[in-house]
């Protein structure tokens, strides 16, 4: 069992969490002005970095959505940040 840190609840089993995607992958704004290329990039193109990664996760039991810094090589969960406290990589929840 691996422990992930929920910014509110503290350390909990990884099985209580759900992956929400790479942090900073913002939905393109502009409705009809958004090109199909931009939309496809938003849906499908990922950085998928080797090593330190910044990701959005949800703690299913409390409903908290947060950003977590995790390493994709050794899988260590380094730190988590509450979006409500400005913990997104640009201070926004997205």
């Amino acid at each position: 069992m691996q422990l992930f840190p929920c910014p509110f609840c503290g350390p909990r089993s990884e099985s209580e969490f759900h992956f929400g995607g790479e942090a900073g992958n913002r939905r393109p704004e502009g409705f009809r002005a958004v090109t199909d290329g931009e939309w496809a990039a938003y849906l499908h193109e990922r950085d998928n970095r080797r090593g330190p990664a910044s990701e959005i996760w949800m703690h299913m039991t409390c409903g908290e959505v947060f950003r977590m810094e995790r390493d994709t090589v050794h899988h260590g969960a380094v730190r988590s940040f509450a979006l409500i406290e400005g913990g997104g990589d640009d201070g926004l929840a997205h």
């Binding site: 069992m1 929920c6 509110f8 609840c9 503290g10 350390p11 909990r12 089993s13 099985s15 209580e16 299913m60 039991t61 409390c62 409903g63 908290e64 509450a82 409500i84």
Partner: protein, 180 residues
Amino acid sequence: MLDNSARWRPEPDWENARLEGRTVAVRAVTGLAQRLVSGDLDRFLARHGLGCDVGALGLASGGRYAVRVARDRLLVVGLPASECADGWHADGYAVTTMGSALRVLDARGEGVRDLLARATTVDPDDPGPCAALRFFGLTCTVYFHGDAQTLRIHVERGLAASLWEWLECQPLLSGGAGGG
């Protein structure tokens, strides 16, 4: 003709359901007023004189208390609708009656920590501020009530029979009178 009625057992008779083990016993608690409060929790707690909320494996007492289930959400027990109506309140919180949504079980005895070890992954010596956790794989609200040997578990009503069957299968609780 296909008859699915035999595939599942009927729900326990919750008023009389009991599981008795050597060190722990479980029964259902019925008739509790349960409310969900979301929003400005400090103002809600102050307004209704509820003091501090209870976190994971925290100790609640009496018939009126608040349990923390998320950063901005409480499960409040024993607060009647006559004192606080459902809906949005100008103080900055919303109240919803949850009495029918959740079943409540009490597990009592010196074996409750063994039951916790079996059902959860939470560290009993550092459980954290939030009482919503996975108990037998289900999202439940779990805390102590009255004393440190009485564990109270709120579970979604539709999943309560499944949790009860799991409890029946536990060596901790086998060998006693069935409740189904």
